[in-house]
């Protein structure tokens, strides 16, 4: 068993067909990794796009074709993932908001509720309780 399997061949075929321009794709991957490392700073789309040397429109289209969501949605998802971890470490809601790069507590609270279904403080209460009960 190995590379002669149908699935393995399909993965290689799709890689060649869907992602023919490796150098361009690597720039998009680099921009995603840049967001992973710098989400806590005041990142905006222009600073992310600038590093790829692509036009904004082209970059957004490529990013979505790679990751299924826009760069802006991705950045929000990274910030919220890190916010959840900080909330469970008992960091205050305002410090979490600032620590993961959101500019205003109200936009943070609104996005947090939209994506998790809970307010930041409710999330903390629910999951801290679950951890303590375990």
């Amino acid at each position: 068993m190995g590379s002669e399997l149908f699935y393995n061949q399909e993965v290689q075929r799709l890689d060649r067909k869907l992602y023919p321009r490796k150098e361009i794709i690597n720039r998009v991957i680099g921009s995603k990794q840049f967001m992973d490392q710098n989400f806590h700073t005041k990142l905006d789309l222009d600073s992310v796009v600038g590093k790829t040397f692509l036009s904004k429109f082209h970059y957004i289209r490529l990013f979505k074709s790679c990751y299924g969501i826009t760069p802006h949605q991705y950045l929000i998802s990274v910030r919220l993932k890190n916010a959840k971890e900080l909330l469970l470490k008992d960091v205050s809601v305002s410090d979490v908001c600032e620590g993961v790069g959101f500019e205003s507590p109200s936009s943070f609270a609104g996005l947090f509720k939209k994506f998790t279904g809970l307010s930041p403080s409710s999330f903390r209460s629910k999951y801290k309780k679950a951890i303590l009960e375990k």
Partner: protein, 128 residues
Amino acid sequence: MKITVMSVMVDDQEKALQFYTQVLGFEKKTDIPMEEGRWLTLVSPEQRDGVELLLEPMGFAPAKPFQKALKEAGIPWTSFGVDDVEKEYERLNKLGVEFTMKPTQMGPVKLAVLNDTCGNLIQIAQFI
């Protein structure tokens, strides 16, 4: 409506429990005796309140040729997310896990496919 359970059909629930917990690292969540087999679910220790994985006994005969055909084509039954495919490949390789696909990049994704020893191939994947 919520997504609470996904399932993988296994030819031996006890053997699957050992592999999925001791080798892959999941944790048993529920274990309920049924008329045939058990309602046996696992969770990831990184997401104990997340979607449960049901180790489903192969009670329905037509499922067997389907499972066999998928495996022979190298098609994974399902896919699990990992932070680092290379590291997980090294860790599992040392534990003697058989891989039908070594870490392979497809655009923005890195994939590997392993044999769960219970009739299935399982993919591990990471967006790089």
